[in-house]
């Protein structure tokens, strides 16, 4: 049955607050097993509300959702056994040590002592918190807290892991670490990971599939590459010297050129598919006495995709 292949299916999932604030608006999602799915959108788009419903914290106003074939309202307790969650805000008890936090969490799920201590040690090592493990979490930096929370979400070996804005407010170094852990999970486990983010580079770097959400609705969905490919018009940037005039006159005649722009020492050539056209552009330069010092193809990013489908900028780059 199709249900089994899908980790999450939502049908018309809707949440209204105070009768008239529509946070999530008839959301239809279908997330296959063993994928990293990113819900990308600006703050206030309905990402956290969606996660709250899927993790059984809030009941939907209407519509339904299934996690591994289990109804999120009627079978909430069974759903809870299958999922791990990290929340947008840091929800660590400041009066517990890192090790205690992990151990407590494992006990909430009924793991036995030997299982627990093995798993706790293993995860402390993964997130590089062994030295700080016996300090109270209130002494931790933001990055350490995030890493500990990630470990906490993982300790029960969930089938589906929800990460709500996992790198919000982190410095680049800690962000990269979190990304690395998520990639490690992707290669080492069969976990399905749902992450929300308002960073487009994060969605592009981690996700197999991206759903762009705006005002409670998914506006477009697909793999990051497909979404960006659909944008067409790659930009080839060339720095160099030589017979620029002759080179450009040849280039102009090619069918796939969309626009040419020269300013100061850089040429920008808009083409349909940059990676495919690059070789020919380089060949033409060589044949026409233009020597290239530096050449690059820059693709449009998910921010541009967001702009295309919503008509608005995705801020917080």
């Amino acid at each position: 049955m199709q249900k089994k292949e899908q980790a999450i299916i939502t049908k018309g999932l809707t949440k209204t607050y105070d009768k008239d604030v529509l946070a999530v608006d008839h959301l239809d999602l279908s997330i296959p097993n063993n994928t990293i799915y990113a819900i990308l959108g600006p703050n206030g788009a309905g990402k956290t509300t969606t996660i709250s419903m899927l993790t059984t914290l809030t009941e939907p106003t209407s519509g339904s959702a299934q996690i591994k074939g289990l109804n999120i309202v009627k079978e909430a307790d069974k759903v809870r056994r299958k999922i791990g969650v990290t929340f947008q805000e840091i929800v660590l008890d400041p009066d517990m040590t890192g090790r205690e936090s992990l151990d407590f969490h494992a006990r909430l799920y009924g793991m036995n002592r030997s299982e627990r201590s093995k798993k706790v040690d293993e995860l402390l090592q993964l997130i590089e918190l062994e030295e700080a493990a016996d300090r109270l979490t209130k002494t931790y930096s933001g990055g350490m807290k995030r890493r500990l929370e990630l470990a906490r979400g993982l300790i029960t070996d969930p089938e589906i892991l929800f990460l709500d804005e996992p790198t919000q407010g982190l410095d680049p170094q800690n962000r990269m670490k979190i990304w690395d852990y998520i990639r490690t999970l992707k290669t080492n486990t069969n976990m399905t990971i749902i992450l929300t983010t308002h960073y487009m580079d994060e969605a592009a770097a981690l996700a197999d599939r991206v759903g762009i959400i705006d005002q409670g609705k998914i506006v477009i969905e697909g793999s990051p590459d497909d979404l960006i490919d659909k944008m067409g018009a790659d930009n080839i940037k060339i720095y160099g010297s030589g017979n620029a005039k002759k080179f450009l006159s040849k280039i102009e005649k090619l069918s796939y050129i969309e626009n040419i722009d020269t300013s100061d020492d850089v040429m920008q050539i808009g083409v349909d598919k940059g990676n495919q056209r690059l070789v020919e552009v380089i060949r033409i330069a060589n044949e026409n006495g233009f020597s290239i010092d530096d050449i690059s193809v820059s693709k449009p990013d998910l921010g541009d995709v967001f702009l295309k489908y919503t008509g608005r900028q995705l801020r917080d780059k």
């Binding site: 993790t55 059984t56 914290l57 809030t58 009941e59 307790d77 069974k78 809870r80 056994r81 999922i83 969650v85 929340f87 805000e89 840091i90 929800v91 660590l92 008890d93 009066d95 517990m96 205690e100 407590f104 969490h105 006990r107 909430l108 799920y109 009924g110 109270l136 906490r152």
Partner: protein, 258 residues
């Protein structure tokens, strides 16, 4: 049950991080007995009641008051955990919602029972007369348990229905005053006007105080023990009260999750 114990243990373990809480927990009841009790005793020693009898008379009232304070502090902890989001960790876990509440209520109760015992000890040192039957002491603690669970329930219910710490304390303060003064904990019922007496009869504080006077202390017969409140009634009222408190808390709690 297992999960109730786990949550109880978490709250109790946290006390070690805050030694000021332990100190406050121990000193507060002592201050009540010594400052309030001794002051009132001097006031009463002129009247027909003997001073030491008044100390005996008021020890249960201080126990009730301490239980209410403990419940308020516990509700406050719960509110903080809710506002910080720590509660979400429990909520996404496959554990019953009732066990989350019971874990909190039982940790509050533990502290209250410890404080009650201190009050008894200090009360006796200050001249209160303890009952001779140890079973009666235990019976008194059973009454405290019912009362403590009931109030923890109310405090947790209020803490589940508000998102502001100020709002919580205002609502609780409104409850706290009549609970203490609209009862026979500080003065005998017979001296009260009718409307206050009616209030006292619907107040569970009257029942814990009356019950403890009958079994845990060597009270002068008749003093502060209304003839129409037999011992079994005290136990019944407090049993019902504890269930009611938990039910309220669970209801408010489930509503807060929606």
């Amino acid at each position: 049950m297992n999960k109730t114990y786990l949550l109880w243990q978490k709250q109790i373990k946290k006390i070690r991080i805050h030694p000021e809480e332990i100190i406050g927990m121990l000193i507060q009841p002592i201050l009540w007995v010594v400052l309030f009790g001794v002051g009132m005793r001097s006031l009463m020693s002129g009247s027909s009641t003997n001073g030491n009898d008044y100390m005996t008379f008021m020890v249960p009232g201080i126990v009730a008051l301490t239980a209410v304070s403990g419940a308020i502090a516990g509700g406050s902890t719960w509110l903080n955990e809710r506002l910080m989001g720590v509660v979400k960790e429990y909520l996404v876990a496959p554990i019953s919602r009732l066990s989350i509440l019971m874990g909190n209520a039982s940790s509050i109760l533990t502290k209250v029972l410890v404080q009650s015992i201190i009050i008894f000890i200090v009360g006796v040192l200050m001249g209160a007369k303890l009952g001779s039957n140890p079973l009666g002491w235990i019976g008194g603690l059973v009454l405290v348990t019912g009362y403590g669970i009931g109030f923890s329930g109310i405090a947790l219910a209020v803490a589940s229905s508000t998102d502001s710490s100020e709002g919580y304390h205002m609502m609780i303060f409104m409850l706290q005053l009549p609970l203490l003064f609209l009862s026979n904990s500080l003065y005998p019922l017979e001296t009260l006007p009718m409307w206050m007496r009616i209030g006292a009869y619907i107040n569970p504080t009257t029942y814990i105080v009356t019950g403890m006077r009958q079994i845990s202390l060597e009270a002068t017969p008749g003093m502060g023990i209304p003839a129409n409140i037999p011992l079994w009634l005290s136990f019944l009222v407090l049993a019902v009260f504890s269930i009611l408190g938990m039910w309220l808390a669970l209801k408010a709690f489930k509503k807060a999750i929606r």
